[in-house]
Symmetry: C2
Subunit: 319 residues, 2 copies
């Protein structure tokens, strides 16, 4: 059924069901959301936006875009040891965007709200002459004073990642026509990593208990390790040979992908953390992989076969 495409109709028919009966959302009929203080907990807040053509492709299905939007924000929360709680949603629809597209977008939100027990509290809806822009301000709870930061790494810490690195970067390149000789299964794996990151909300408590510093990887492992090293005033040495890669990524490397691309690409949304030797043991038992060490100094060195690699461009620019 085709809906009335007005702002009020979209809110009434697509967003109010997402707010449900939570006290916080007030049924979306009010101008504000109201979040009660949770005794013994801080509210952890993050904002992430996605722009069509920059952070996702025009051809990406809108339900997956919605789910990625939620997951990118949930990824930030869980990397800090916070329990996902709910979100404010901003949608800037291109003028003339059909109701059906908005409906598909809302259906994607529903899937991952249920998956992550994450509720819509409020937001704003506008229209624009520009590309589709979506943003979330996400809330989580962490025990008072214990929210992890980038700044807690210590000399001697182990450096760990929460899962495969580089799949999302390769998935974007597959969508752009590269690595055509990959198997369909490998292509599907890489594309899915790009479109649908997997935040490990089940690991938030373990990270909170065992990590000294933690963040999620969005700009690429090397770039984000550089941010963490700077905030913590340590040097980080990453061993490229220990960075975990999927079967699909290794198949792409056989077809010419460079291992350095995997650690300088972006969009991984895996956790990056540091911990003592004892903390690292617990994290490794939970599925983390040790990829390096914190030393005295500054910056990041990438080594392979014991040799420091020269990186011309350690960052990653969207698009």
């Amino acid at each position: 059924m085709t809906g009335d495409n007005s702002e009020f109709s979209v809110i009434d028919r697509l967003f109010k069901p997402l707010a449900g009966l939570t006290a916080e959302a007030r049924g979306l009929i009010d101008d504000v959301a109201v979040l009660g203080a949770r005794d013994g907990y801080d509210l952890v807040v993050t904002t992430d936006a996605m722009v069509e053509g920059v952070h996702f492709l025009s051809t990406d299905p809108l339900d997956l875009v919605a789910r990625k939007l939620l997951r990118v924000n949930i990824s930030d929360l869980v990397a800090k040891g916070a329990d996902p709680y709910g979100y404010q949603l901003l949608t800037a629809w291109p003028k003339g965007m059909a109701y059906e597209g908005k409906e598909i977008f809302a259906a994607g939100l529903r899937v991952d709200q249920d998956e992550f027990d994450f509720d819509l509290f409020g937001g704003d809806t506008v229209s624009t002459d520009g590309p589709l822009l979506l943003a979330i301000t996400a809330f989580g709870h962490a025990p008072t004073g214990r929210t992890l930061s980038r700044a807690g790494a210590r000399v001697g810490d182990r450096v760990l990642v929460g899962g495969y690195i580089g799949d999302a970067h390769l998935g974007l390149r597959v969508l752009r026509g590269e690595f055509d000789d990959l198997s369909d299964a490998h292509k599907a794996h890489l594309i899915r990593a790009y479109r649908l990151p997997q935040p490990r909300d089940d690991m938030a408590d373990t990270v909170l208990e065992n990590a000294h510093a933690s963040m999620d990887i969005s700009d690429g492992l090397i770039a984000d390790a550089t941010h963490l090293a700077k905030a913590s005033a340590v040097r980080i040495v990453i061993d490229l040979d220990r960075v975990p890669t999927s079967d699909a990524a290794r198949a792409a490397m056989v077809l010419g992908a460079d291992a350095v691309d995997l650690v300088t690409g972006g969009d991984d949304y895996q956790m990056l953390c540091t911990a003592s030797a004892a903390g690292a043991k617990v994290l490794i038992a939970a599925g983390f992989v040790e990829v390096g060490r914190c030393e005295a100094g500054e910056g990041v060195d990438l080594i392979s076969n014991g040799q420091v690699l020269e990186l011309e461009d350690r960052g990653w620019v969207h698009g």
Copy 2:
């Protein structure tokens, strides 16, 4: 001095000084903000976006756009009886936008952060092929369980507004070339009302103590009274002859502006509330003006000289 226009430079040089030393912002070097629970208070949250060409004009000075962005959100908070606390900022800069414009925008944020004791906690910065888009998710505190809503109006309540109605609507029309025969002082007054709303944060406590229902007027007095009437399941009768208007607005009416335009225009960002007779007395002493009553029934009637006026279009569409 011309700055490096990269995302990191804009954050470092323009936004970090706005976050200052608040514990919440973590110096903007982390991925999240952390808001401690305030015992006895709820966190009140609102999100409002502004798009160039829709919510502001390309010719509006960017420092005033920044201040309007903050004030539109603060207006929502204080109308609910909440004390403004801080905000998450989303900026989607058009590709190629000069650093100088961003600097002017940040300078405007600084002015009103100081004016309203309102701090930057975090956010996100992206670029877009579209027009400039700015959004804030704003936080305030209200005593636990007492945040005002649209839904508390009772039959017999007085309906009150917090200040002049229609100035902002007329200011937009002046900017578009209408009412050229107005005096420069009147033009300046109306343009200023459009560009720089005046949220009455000094009235938040009085409203909290005395109002049954409250919201701010963004879509026009009639449209927002209709929202309030619907949420409260009452009928609201507004007496056009009692709606407060500025000298400048009355001068514009002499030049052809219709009184009905003032109550169906938008962008007032004045408070609209309902209260008992006793509550209304306190509110009137604080500067509110009584403009109508709540009756049994539904919808909004606008009367003048005791006659109900027919309104073809009670809403207001941006742009």
